[in-house]
């Protein structure tokens, strides 16, 4: 019995190692738009940090990748998945923002020299945070995950074309972060929102709560048929967006009340809007932090 167990273990290890060079499972959510959905987990609790969604879009002449996951290894798997669909060159790697679960697969694409596209504030944030992120990624899973500079910065809106396939890139005001970039595929009316939209995963404020609500109000007015969030499943309607806006706007209201009532920051972080807990995964990990972010922003209103 023990021997059998050992054999199974060895076989399992071998197949695991084979998988390591294998591609990720992408789903075609609209014609030519492929999405890998990350685990809804903390980055250091998930295999190779694969917690964020990754998208690639295939045009007539080229491919664009939107976000590259958390590690060089994941980046290579994304590259392998793209090769299964097309031999067209990857001309653009777009980073929706600088958070570590979205950028550290970039290294896997450097050799093909695509344009690395990001919001105009991306470089500053990368300089401020990149080394800190790397210092937290010391395990073998993250080996080879280098910092890759953006080569093309978007100030407001620009369109890139993959060959009969225009992608509109929009750099928004301070929202989830201070440098969120979203991508709209005109052909299929697919909005690749990055972390401007969270589904199921508790939203995380690292920019401005009020700014984010304003950006989400704009997104809600947009005409899209497919919505790819930064975390959580792909959406075909606006219900998840509405739910997320309700959380953020309830948070804004509740934190303003806490400030008015002079409830201190620590107490507020432990008590404000706890009723929303059942609605979100990773609520305990991120909600208190959101209260602190909201409080320190709104107390200056």
């Amino acid at each position: 019995m023990k021997l059998l167990g050992l054999v199974c273990f060895v076989l399992a290890s071998i197949s695991h190692n084979l998988n390591a060079e294998d591609s990720l499972d992408f789903v075609e959510v609209a014609a030519g738009v492929f999405v890998f959905q990350g685990d809804i987990k903390d980055i250091f609790a998930a295999k190779e940090g694969m917690v964020s969604n990754v998208t690639f879009v295939i045009g007539k002449q080229a491919v664009a990748v939107v976000d590259t996951g958390a590690s060089y290894k994941q980046g290579k798997r994304i590259r392998a998945a793209i090769s299964k669909q097309t031999q067209l060159p990857i001309k653009y790697v777009i980073n929706t923002h600088v958070h570590l679960d979205h950028i550290f697969g970039n290294q896997a694409f450097v050799a093909e020299a695509p344009e690395f596209v990001a919001h105009k504030n991306f470089q500053q944030e990368l300089a401020a945070k990149g080394a800190y992120y790397q210092s937290r990624m010391k395990t073998a899973e993250f080996a080879g995950s280098e910092i890759v500079e953006a080569t093309r910065l978007i100030g407001k809106t620009e369109t890139i074309n993959l060959g009969d396939r225009p992608l509109q890139l929009t750099a928004v005001q301070r929202a989830h972060t201070n440098h969120d970039l979203m991508v709209y595929d005109t052909n299929t009316a697919t909005l690749i929102a990055g972390d401007l939209v969270f589904v199921e995963h508790c939203p995380v404020i690292d920019g401005s709560l009020s700014g984010w609500l304003a950006v989400l109000a704009d997104i809600q007015k947009m005409d899209f048929s497919v919505l790819v969030p930064g975390h959580g499943p792909v959406q075909k309607d606006k219900s998840a967006l509405t739910k997320m806006m309700r959380y953020l706007s309830d948070l804004q209201t509740a934190v303003r009340v806490a400030i008015d009532e002079q409830i201190d920051l620590d107490t507020a972080s432990n008590t404000v809007l706890q009723a929303a807990a059942p609605e979100w995964r990773l609520f305990d990990e991120y909600h208190k932090r959101n209260v602190i972010a909201a409080y320190t922003e709104l107390e200056w209103e």
């Binding site: 500053q124 944030e125 800190y132 201070n178 690292d206 602190i292 320190t296 922003e297 200056w300």
Partner: protein, 272 residues
């Protein structure tokens, strides 16, 4: 001035130690490390060796078990004795053992406070013991210690609202809330409070330290609370304290930063 030199000296002593530790990171190793090394050095720099430090109930310390955002960790010191002219808490030292500059600062208090309880928000760079040491007017020292799990507070990149903090630099807000004969106050000062450990986002040079190092609050020329401190106070410093007013009057806050800028603002005291 003496205390500023002292702070700097301790910072330098500990910088090397912390740099070595920082390679270990947020795991248990750092937690293990934290408990031991720095406090004897800090203690030796702050207090004469023959001064006893009592672990009694004079003060208690409230900290979150885990810092949700290491750059903004709310802490409160609760005074369990009243401020009377016979016996009062005259100073409260705040220390974060594992921070590059472990002495957060020193608060000066007086019987005017009624109660010496205070609160602020600090940066916590690693899993660390946080200490509050109260000096009572009889010269005795009393300490409360909590362990906090956090990492990256001092070098964690400044928040995204930083531009706002710079635009508003020096602007202050005072919140007042009456509790019996005490007025509970919170003074907010808009200031980026650069620690000197953050990297400038465009040039990638270290941002020179630029932080609030002195706060004095007075009421019609009577001292209410004073703070002298270092880089471990969070961006947009916040200080909560008590005041026991005997009359109507004006509260004045005077603030200096490490670049020599001076700010002041005053408010009428709202007493019913």
């Amino acid at each position: 001035m003496k205390s500023n030199n002292m702070l700097r000296q301790i910072s330098l002593t500990l910088c090397t130690a912390v740099l070595l530790v920082s390679g270990l990171h947020a795991g248990d190793a750092a937690a293990q490390q934290s408990k031991r090394d720095n406090w004897p050095i800090i203690r030796a720099n702050l207090f004469a060796a023959d001064r006893e430090i009592y672990s009694d109930d004079t003060i208690s310390l409230i900290t979150p078990k885990r810092a949700e955002n290491a750059a903004i960790v709310p802490i409160s010191v609760i005074a369990n004795i009243k401020q009377t002219t016979d016996l009062y808490i005259s100073k409260i030292y705040l220390v974060v053992d594992e921070n590059p500059s472990p002495v957060v600062g020193v608060f000066n208090l007086s019987p005017n406070n009624g109660l010496a309880s205070l609160s602020t928000r600090i940066r916590v760079n690693a899993y660390s013991d946080i200490r509050a040491i109260a000096e009572t007017s009889d010269g005795k020292l009393h300490m409360a210690v909590n362990f906090v799990k956090a990492s990256g507070g001092c070098s964690a990149p400044a928040g995204s609202n930083n531009e706002e903090a710079i635009k508003r630099r020096g602007k202050m807000k005072l919140r007042q809330q009456q509790h019996g004969n005490l007025v509970q106050m919170q003074l907010l000062i808009s200031h980026p409070n650069y620690s000197g450990l953050q990297i400038e986002q465009i040039s990638r040079h270290w941002i020179p330290a630029d932080y609030v190092n002195q706060i004095q609050v007075s009421f019609d020329n009577d001292a209410v609370i004073a703070f002298t401190g270092g880089i471990s106070i969070s961006e947009n410093p916040s200080i909560g304290f008590n005041f026991k007013p005997e009359k109507q009057g004006t509260l004045l806050a005077e603030v200096k930063d490490s670049q020599g800028r001076e700010y002041s603002q005053s408010w009428p005291l709202a007493v019913q």
